[in-house]
Symmetry: C2
DNA sequence: TATTTATTTGATTAATCAATCAATAATATC
DNA sequence: GATATTATTGATTGATTAATCAAATAAATA
């Protein structure tokens, strides 16, 4: 029966993995509710109903926790958007779905979104560079890269007119981000669906 | 010679006013260099070369200092942009100058801009609402209001086509904001002037 | 079952924070 | 020049922070 034993690593980390999940969930909730500045390990621990030291046991560091959480949040929203975009065929359709699903993600997971913002705006690298200034540097930002790719392909195929891809991509991301910042979950001047539709129309014309 | 005496208030507050200026300048520098999270009264005091208690003497509170600083920064950038916009006559010209000067302000006062971002993203009202979620609620945001007014006037005069004003305004602001976030002061993929020109072109087409 | 290994806690550390206060120093007023 | 007011400091308070550690508990392994 030896060959049936699950690999040691998986077995070892089963409890640990569940605990990490729990801590990360508590971190999201805390960040959403009180913001990065007031979020401390003890606040997160209290939210999770565990001791502070337990967080230190599972994460080497506060910044380790925040980094892992950030990666999870980015991956979550990226997957949500990319899977939907990849189901479309033409650049124009892809672009519309990109906008639509980017905004839809915010409506579906508002707390994830808030937590993501709090970390990006506040956490800094060991070299003290804020994450929000890092974004652009190639490698990392899958979403921005995909958006540019859609625009490039659209121009290549003649579906889109002439424009600067970097600027257009920034503008679209900016329009999406602006909504996610300014609008609390309820009672908004422009509801999510209207915003989404109108933004698509405008971008349609801009990419001409 | 009595009537020549300057009003008591001005006289009294002369030193105090200068000191407040100095503290606010030090706060800008500190926020720019180490970010909101790491900025403390003692760090600001050290930057200013004064004692921490002196800040408490001139400002009732940490949040009082941050609020006054925020107001100054908003007023500074608003004035910069609005004076330039008001020199133009047609909505189209106003819109172009709005974009141009918004971006130019960032290039001219990068540290002011960084400090503004740090406060907006981090400071919260006594009710714990982040400032960046407050923006939209009428009264306050002079800049956003002006932008919408330009767009409205342009539509009214038939210079612009049909689009949702709120969404278009958000998109333009988002495109501007995106630049100011992503791009550090040097070695950028798209330089400020190119970005400005290209954004104007795109918005020109979008507003049709 | 005995023993090792993984998980969890409570107590503690040293640092830092905002804010207060009494004691000076500087300035203005009379 | 005496007196009051304003400005400034250093020391101190109590709260909170991230991180460490020895001790206790739970789980896995042999």
């Amino acid at each position: 029966m030896n060959e049936n034993k699950p690999p040691v690593e998986e077995n070892q980390s089963f409890i640990a993995e569940a605990r990490r999940e729990q801590i990360i969930k508590a971190a999201i909730k805390t960040l959403d509710e009180i913001g990065y500045v007031k979020t401390s390990l003890s606040k997160i621990a209290k939210t999770a109903g565990i001791s502070t030291a337990l967080i230190s046991y599972h994460f080497s560091d506060k910044s380790d926790l925040m980094n892992q959480l950030l990666m999870k949040l980015i991956e979550s929203s990226s997957t949500y958007i990319l899977t939907r975009v990849q189901m479309e065929s033409t650049p124009r359709e892809k672009l519309h779905v990109f906008i639509e699903s980017s905004l839809a993600y915010q409506g579906t997971y508002p707390s994830h979104n808030a937590a993501l913002l709090e970390i990006i705006f506040n956490a800094r690298t060991p070299e003290n560079i804020p994450y929000y200034k890092l974004n652009d540097e190639e490698e990392d930002d899958v979403i921005l890269h995909e958006l540019r790719e859609i625009l490039r392909e659209g121009q290549e195929k003649g579906e889109f007119g002439a424009f600067n891809i970097h600027v257009m991509a920034n503008m679209i991301q900016g329009a999406i981000g602006e909504y996610m910042m300014v609008h609390p979950n309820h009672t908004q001047k422009v509801d999510l669906e209207t915003y989404s539709n109108e933004l698509i129309k405008i971008v349609q014309k801009a990419t001409g």
